[in-house]
Symmetry: C2
Amino acid sequence: MANMILPAEFSLIARHFRPLAGPGALDLRDDAALLTPPPGRDLVLTTDAMVAGVHFLPDDPPDLVGRKLLRVNLSDLAAKGAEPIHYLMTVSTPKDTPEAWFAGFAAGLAEDQAIYGVSLLGGDTTSTPGPISLSLTIIGHVAPGTAIHRFGAAAGDEIWVTGTIGDGALGLAVALGKIVDPTGFLLDRYRLPQPRVGLELAGIASAGMDVSDGLVQDLGHLCRASDLSAEIMADHVPLSDAARAAGPDWLATCLTGGDDYELLLAVPPDRSEALRAAAARIGIAVTRIGHFHSGPAEVMVRQASGEPFALTKGGWSHF
Amino acid sequence: MANMILPAEFSLIARHFRPLAGPGALDLRDDAALLTPPPGRDLVLTTDAMVAGVHFLPDDPPDLVGRKLLRVNLSDLAAKGAEPIHYLMTVSTPKDTPEAWFAGFAAGLAEDQAIYGVSLLGGDTTSTPGPISLSLTIIGHVAPGTAIHRFGAAAGDEIWVTGTIGDGALGLAVALGKIVDPTGFLLDRYRLPQPRVGLELAGIASAGMDVSDGLVQDLGHLCRASDLSAEIMADHVPLSDAARAAGPDWLATCLTGGDDYELLLAVPPDRSEALRAAAARIGIAVTRIGHFHSGPAEVMVRQASGEPFALTKGGWSHF
């Protein structure tokens, strides 16, 4: 059977995804990829999915969709203190998805591959009668025994966050036309997370995670994992100028909204200076917002007056 | 904020997926999983996705959907000669997906985890406005330098397949009511692939892959990867009794249909006995169906008369 025509799937992969392939990916021409693990290191692996209409808006620019997909996974690695190396990816698209979407999506990935030093190792492309559905599995590595976990915090440990909290949730509100964003800062923070890759955590944080489902809900996860109670001061939570400009009515959204992709860390008091120094080395801000204490696994948010801050919603669930 | 209610996502994970978690998965409670690579081995990784209405039928039993998802990925590892260890998985489901679906899906995975010695390392669960969408990344390992590739075949190598070809495509025809299947054999082959995990390939096969998109199309991939021409004899292709019973009109479907999940191997003639012995050790059949020769990368299917067998379709593309 001469001159077999290659189906569209293969030419799409060739044009847009093959240029992203790294060592071990076998040019995406094989059934599986090869990875020689970095000697003497533990691998760290995580998977995050994004569905159009659930995790991003159908008309979001495809390059930003690709970059966000990669960055939400990089953020999970950052929370472990891991160095990213490779990723595998599933891309399910409606049959009428224009080629320009794939081109833009791959261009965004290429840009971030260069920034974060990662490459594509493999994946799958399929059609779907539903919305664009993306899933990415990222691989990183750490020195054995040094990965940060959600468990491990102790009573008395301080609670720290990187960057500013709430911009992602407010950015979504901007995208939905609920608030204005004259500088575009909030929308950019929603569309393009800044994973805190490279922040040294080993020997500094006793526990940690990234804030993706909302500060209060994610802090609840740390509490349950370490069987501790947490108390944070609402007015200590770092807000961007743009978030402050949205006004006090949006503070609860900042505390409970998702899509921050900042790190939430438990830090023993005698290591807080080490955290500050590590953050300074990569040019990011870190802020102490409260502390853990013994007691039932729950999160108390206090106003400056000492009164509890009323929240109607613990966070955001994708289910 | 006392007594925070956990959203549905977390309780679903806890009830159905946590029991599948293996060492390093951190009980699926963390941002990422840990894997200490088997010392002195190369890792092999691959990703395959399945979308309801594209790769399986919406009313397929959920335990079989879970098992098929795992097995199509195991089949890719089998084609490399790799030993499977762990997998990560994304499960995107409509909000009205009944809990029984998750229970059945997880039960199927649990059954196959026991059979194949693998465990869940991590993943993501999300809602989707579209059909159920599943993606699985599997990890295995091989001795360094021994993984089988699509490239590497030489002119004169024989073409071998495991098991029988075409049952999966005919099973789909059964599910769609196009042919009858008195014993249920074909439908079972469509719904529950038998990945040829454990077939020793190192030092035996010069190239190989699994047959998932149709024998002729996948053989074309081997041809292009090794820059060779392939010739197979249609009447040498092993068919099951059930496939033969479907009649000669269905032979083209057997040769070009997807979902076989058998292995397609290039084997130098002096190693064919070693292949037979390796197959006998795990109780599977292997059949020689043709050979590679120098020439343009194309597939010739011959009838017993020597005439070319006319095929209108090279195989199946999911795009």
